[in-house]
Symmetry: none
Subunit: 162 residues, 2 copies
């Protein structure tokens, strides 16, 4: 199975016209005909009934069409997810926070965060400010919300609330 050929199949199934499908795929008609033939041979099944005047789906073609659309959509979704990850819009954010932040800071921050980055999951860990610094250093969390004065070495800090 080959996603490229499946895309070709879907284009022809939707256009029911090799010339127009080829245009839509930005290629010429003969290689498209060939690829469809190869797909048919691979599956050992006719997918289209064709004359020079009329192209129509066979039963097998009608069966394959929604499956192909679905599979292609899922493949695209994998691509998209990887892309989002790469751009920091997906993944898991590990947060450490002190108990006292649980009542005001965290709820506000989390709802705003989810609004802006809906694809990102998060883990919440309660820990003291000192533990947060250690966990940050060790790479066990990505972000800490605590009371500690910033430790100057390799921990970046921002004032959130006073």
């Amino acid at each position: 199975m080959n996603l490229q050929r499946l895309r070709y199949f879907v284009a022809v199934a939707e256009e029911l016209h090799f010339g127009r499908a080829a245009q839509r795929l930005h290629m010429s008609q003969p290689p498209l005909s060939q690829q469809i033939r190869l797909l048919e041979r691979e599956l050992d099944t006719a997918l289209f009934d064709r004359s020079t005047r009329r192209v129509s789906l066979t039963d097998a073609g009608s069966f394959l069409y929604p499956e192909a659309v679905r599979l292609l959509a899922e493949a695209d979704s994998v691509d998209r997810l990887m892309d989002q990850r790469r751009h920091g819009q997906a993944g898991t954010l590990r947060v450490g926070f002190v108990d006292s932040a649980a009542y005001e800071v965290m709820p506000r921050a989390l709802s705003e965060y989810r609004r802006r980055w809906p694809q990102v999951d998060y883990e919440l860990h309660t820990m003291s400010s000192d533990e947060q610094v250690k966990a940050l250093r060790a790479g066990r969390i990505d972000l800490g919300i605590g009371r500690a004065a910033a430790d100057p070495e390799r921990v970046e800090a921002t004032l959130v609330m006073q």
Copy 2:
């Protein structure tokens, strides 16, 4: 996205060793390394941390792995379905059902079904009603038998038993 490369990725992810993965894929090691590099470039993301002594998945690789396995399984399932069709089974009906239907509803339905459509094969999958709705939407099953009230969006429901 290209299923071939994804298969290569899965092999390396499972072996964590380019040489063994290449063997398993019946190819030599250098082109496998190349294809993995090309996949990484295509996704613009490192999938493996590698030294000459140790290969391990990056976060992105760990994320991709189950997605890849799933996508490949679905592609294979499309192949299999087409193959079954071709062999004169008019098709396959994929049914999801809740365990509680196993005692009365399913046996009756199946024997009647087989009587009326002897050419059609079926696959049975036990799953909760919620999972059935998801699976229907995703096109992994054709029919669900559950207790759920019908989800109004794009799921058609009929009362079978009360």
